[in-house]
């Protein structure tokens, strides 16, 4: 597909995408060596450090967006502005505590910032991280224990052949999984194992193979400029 060089705002990104896409797709198969220089080695080591350096300067870009949204909600006193205020306070507070006393603290050994700063902030950080954040995170995860039963109740209903198949294979596995069922009838476990080892493997493999082919064709489209929407996102 054609591009115009005069339109550098679009053509430069497209060219960059093409170059790096081709390089990284093919260095895996073909290495180009000149003396001690190996292209594959360069791309797999030095270049990745460059990418890390490039990525490293983007500090808190997501936070800027969140801050903007909540700042607007707070100053305009929209509905739920109180919670926005909480977020506005928590972000800088947690950022400062984490930067000086957290897991990714900038200077935990006390080279520049005095050591007592880390030592005095670390307990607060531990509380905020483990007893608030991690706790809420794990509890959010555990909500699935409720949701999975309710979703199963609605999904496992014999409406048509499709849902009958889903129902039968699902319920048979559920029966095989219930721990006390092995003593009710050992056959439950045998059936479950068969379902997991045979049809489940075949079905998943089919999905994976199809998805792999879809991904390959899509990737080729991105590199060869047939699919430009992600690369050229944003107006003008």
């Amino acid at each position: 597909m054609a591009i115009s060089l005069a339109d550098y705002k679009r053509s430069i990104p497209l060219i960059l995408c093409f170059i790096f896409g081709i390089l990284y797709a093919f260095e895996w198969y073909v290495d180009i060596r000149v003396g001690d220089f190996s292209l594959s080695y360069y791309l797999e080591h030095d270049m990745l450090n460059y990418f890390n350096a490039m990525y490293s300067v983007a500090i808190g870009i997501g936070a800027i967006n969140i801050f903007r949204i909540h700042y607007r909600r707070f100053t305009r006193r929209r509905k739920y502005w109180e919670y926005s205020l909480l977020v506005l306070i928590l972000i800088p507070v947690m950022a400062v505590i984490s930067v000086f006393g957290g897991r990714w603290a900038i200077d935990p050994k006390g080279v520049v910032v005095p050591r007592w700063v880390y030592d005095s902030l670390a307990p607060t950080w531990n509380f905020l991280y483990w007893n608030i954040m991690s706790l809420i995170s794990q509890t959010m995860f555990s909500l699935l224990g409720f949701f999975i039963i309710s979703a199963g109740y609605r999904a496992f209903r014999a409406r048509n052949i499709d849902s009958i198949i889903l129902l039968i294979s699902g319920i048979l596995v559920v029966l095989g999984q219930a721990p006390i069922n092995a003593s009710v009838w050992p056959g439950f476990e045998t059936i479950k194992n068969w379902l997991m080892d045979v049809p489940n493997v075949a079905g998943r493999r089919g999905i994976l193979l199809g998805a792999a082919i879809g991904a390959l064709a899509y990737g080729v489209r991105v590199i060869f400029w047939y699919e430009r929407r992600p690369t050229l996102a944003g107006g003008e």
Partner: protein, 267 residues
């Protein structure tokens, strides 16, 4: 001549990967061939019905009737994942629909790079539909990079802003069911698409329509609504037939006691 080294340019095939490279080249050629063929004779390629794809417009239309927003998320992965990129391509279509129907869209992101691209895509879509004035940067939001902080943020959005059509495209982890179950509780029409085999069961259980695996990529092509791009589906099919042939021959060969196909593939 002393002290001078003559450098020679060498091209080295890395062993054990040749078959992979050849297969990639074949699929690449098939893709470009199909796209170019479709460019010349778009009518030659007919695509079967995929119900989930037809449901997109209906879902957005329903949200319009109810006067409630549309919710979209491009998944949990970063830009390095093709699943995410295809979800962003689909976002373009959905954002055009919402622009056309004048219904607000909420795009929730977990990764800030994806968030930037998503905002760009929505902006482009509104420009393309001539509704630039209706675009609002608050439509596209970065929620949080923590998996369940993102999920909590989405659940909050569901109940506070009550979207009527939820789209979950891209790659998901355990939070898939949290989104889908909450979406059900607010009575939204839900369309999901993912390549994650671990999360597909939950989307199939709790959503109205699901794009399974490859169908997500097919939708990314199909929803461009451009017959030239839809042609790529021919390349999908040719590659699949090639794969099937390899499996069939390989299975017969191994049953006959020959590992020839396995050997070729590991060359």
């Amino acid at each position: 001549m002393h002290g001078m080294t003559i450098y020679q340019l060498e091209v080295v095939l890395r062993s054990g990967r040749v078959a992979q490279g050849v297969l990639l080249v074949i699929i690449g050629i098939l893709t470009v061939y199909a796209l170019e063929k479709a460019k010349r004779r778009p009518e030659a390629i007919k695509v079967r019905k995929i119900p989930a794809i037809d449901a997109f417009e209906e879902a957005v239309g329903r949200a319009t009737e109810m006067g409630r927003p549309v919710f979209y998320t491009p998944g949990m992965s970063g830009l390095g994942s093709l699943t995410t990129l295809s979800a962003l391509s689909i976002l373009d279509y959905v954002a055009r629909l919402t622009a056309r129907y004048n219904v607000p869209i909420i795009v929730a992101n977990r990764n800030w790079v994806v968030y930037q691209v998503a905002e760009g895509i929505v902006k482009n879509a509104y420009l393309a539909e001539g509704k630039a004035d209706q675009f609002n940067p608050e439509m596209v939001r970065y929620i949080a990079s923590w998996q369940f902080a993102f999920a909590a943020g989405c659940l909050g959005i569901f109940f506070r802003e009550r979207p009527a059509a939820n789209f979950y495209m891209g790659y998901y982890y355990a939070e898939s069911l949290e989104l889908a179950e909450s979406g059900y509780r607010i009575g939204a029409v839900q369309i999901a698409g993912t390549t994650s085999t671990a999360q597909l069961p939950f989307f199939v259980a709790a959503c109205d329509y699901v794009l399974i695996g490859e169908e997500l990529y097919a939708a990314a092509a199909f929803l461009a609504r451009d017959p030239k791009i839809v042609g790529v589906l021919l390349a999908h099919d040719l590659s699949k037939i090639l794969t099937l042939a390899i499996i069939l021959i390989g299975a017969i060969a191994i049953t006959a006691g020959s590992t020839i196909i396995l050997d070729i593939l590991s060359k």
